[in-house]
Assembly symmetry: C3
Homo-oligomer: 271 residues x 3
Amino acid sequence: MLVKASIAGAIVTNTLFMLGASFLLGGLKHRVQEYNRGSARLQAALLFLATIALLIPSAVAEADSAAGAAFTQKLSLGLAVLLIVTYGLGMLFSLKTHREFFGAAEHADAGETPWPLGLALATLAGVTVLVALVSEVFVESVQEAAVAFGMTPAFVGFIVVALVGAAAEMASAFSGARKNRLDLSVGIALGSASQIALFVAPVLVLLSYVMGPSPMTLQFWPGAVVMMLIATLTATLVTGSGRSAWFVGVLVLMVYLVFAMTLYLLPPGAE
Amino acid sequence: MLVKASIAGAIVTNTLFMLGASFLLGGLKHRVQEYNRGSARLQAALLFLATIALLIPSAVAEADSAAGAAFTQKLSLGLAVLLIVTYGLGMLFSLKTHREFFGAAEHADAGETPWPLGLALATLAGVTVLVALVSEVFVESVQEAAVAFGMTPAFVGFIVVALVGAAAEMASAFSGARKNRLDLSVGIALGSASQIALFVAPVLVLLSYVMGPSPMTLQFWPGAVVMMLIATLTATLVTGSGRSAWFVGVLVLMVYLVFAMTLYLLPPGAE
Amino acid sequence: MLVKASIAGAIVTNTLFMLGASFLLGGLKHRVQEYNRGSARLQAALLFLATIALLIPSAVAEADSAAGAAFTQKLSLGLAVLLIVTYGLGMLFSLKTHREFFGAAEHADAGETPWPLGLALATLAGVTVLVALVSEVFVESVQEAAVAFGMTPAFVGFIVVALVGAAAEMASAFSGARKNRLDLSVGIALGSASQIALFVAPVLVLLSYVMGPSPMTLQFWPGAVVMMLIATLTATLVTGSGRSAWFVGVLVLMVYLVFAMTLYLLPPGAE
């Protein structure tokens, strides 16, 4: 439950808060900022379709009560495999066959020697497992502290944990925006959200069969489904033009604030 | 109830009917019409995100029956404040810092001296309160007349009241379209819909605490939610290209007609 | 029931599988493929709005349980007429007044003399009725064979029948993609999906009053509604840029595979 709220919260926070605050911070310094529209669009499409795939088990379980728990579990397992394969193909595409598609976002790595693919994947997998374990402990202790402050568990899982967890990436994204390199900020925001949907979430499902007390499914709380959909649709919408000003950031942050407010006010029994 | 139906109806009618009829009327006279894509996109994004924010209380109440009336009321109040702040920032953006963003739509005002901001806001607030009071009376008398003609209350609230209420703006929008100045038509249609979502609806919520018999929430009938979402998504979709021909107008009007037909046929007890 | 599953399946399959496989097959041969963005956008908008109109009766029936069967039937009938009128206007637009809007997709027919409109419409209507009759028989025999192989009826209706039924169009679309003429592929994929939503489905409703045992409505299984919406939204999203590479095809096919997997695993009683 906690893990699933963190997954949903991370997608929503990366997409709305990181992107919105980048637009706002960049826009307060630079009148109008331009970025690579083609690359942003592809990343937004990747994120949107990954999120939709992630939400199918919840949508079916919602739409059709005859679809039972066994069905949801099998579907989650198959979906996890499919998402990881898509993630792998996406890596192949962006790192091997079509490097130039992700345009300016890459300049950041200029000069660095790329890692061998095997090593990169192994490290990624290792880090993910570590993060999963650590975040479980982390989430629980944050949870206790926050509840002591009178915050609802939903607010903590979605907002507080996600904001703390993405602090490092946010620093990079905001710094990119201030330096008028929005390609970097958009790439980090959409890229880390996609990574959670396409890699972290399915890996956690697979790991739950090896390590967990019981298999984890990809069925989310309906409210989380709505928020993830709106968040990724918003990102798709605002990155389609390749141009930004401060008010675009305000709009995206407004959607985020509405979500945060909803979760803050939600009575604890509701989720 | 009546007021909420009018809000939803005004958003749907301005977005679909005013926009669609402008495209159709303009397209029948001019083969292909071009307009400022960047400005239309920003306005459509503003409208879409404002509508989404407006619909969150309804979505949560629908998705989660444990969220009670007290929650919906607090959320509506917080949301109203957030929407009005966003509206204010949007005014600042479009009138002060980034006037040129709204491009051709402004030529209409060339030559006019802009009002001082304070006066403009006070007038706007006054007019809104007046309209709210008048429309309550107006809606009730139209209601009685229409029911006598055998129309359902839902059809009257959504369609008839909204069409009559927006008559003046429609005249301007259509005249702009005939003169091949679609920027004007798109700006009026999307702008007045945004104004309802970002300003009129939240002001009515705040006023209901001062004047109303009981506080008004922002929880809408699920059918109204679906229609507002589809209407604003349609507007986003068709204004993304900056180009129009008569058939685009037919498509948008078709969606409107489907809604009107649905409301006309809906049994009175359903809403 | 079978017929409705075939309609939904054909829209989903044409939109996702035909389009995705065209992007993938073309992308494996050509590094980056460009196509007419304006034309693709108009076709995607047409498909999306037609699908939305088609889904209104299901959405209302879902949102409002007080809307009874009589309402759904009247609404379906009115909607069918509206969709056919829109289809006719679309033909007028694309064949008469604005031929050049559908750009490169037309080069395929260069050299052919266009049919007289009356003859074309009569043939179309005749073929449609024929297809409806044949597919009823076809669907039933495929059904029996597939159930013998252990496939669920939902999977057969949505996936197997739709893939077999669109085989000829797929051959053309894939061949166009390999020849770097994606305009052709996109036109065929979106065009045949639109034709089903705007023409085949409403004609079947009208025919059901003349021929069928009982009037057919346009109320679909909620799962089918979700899939059609996602499929057409996906098509709108990926065709907006006018540019494609192999990974875009992978993404679209991933969404299709998720649907196919869901239907394959769905317990038979669920639909």
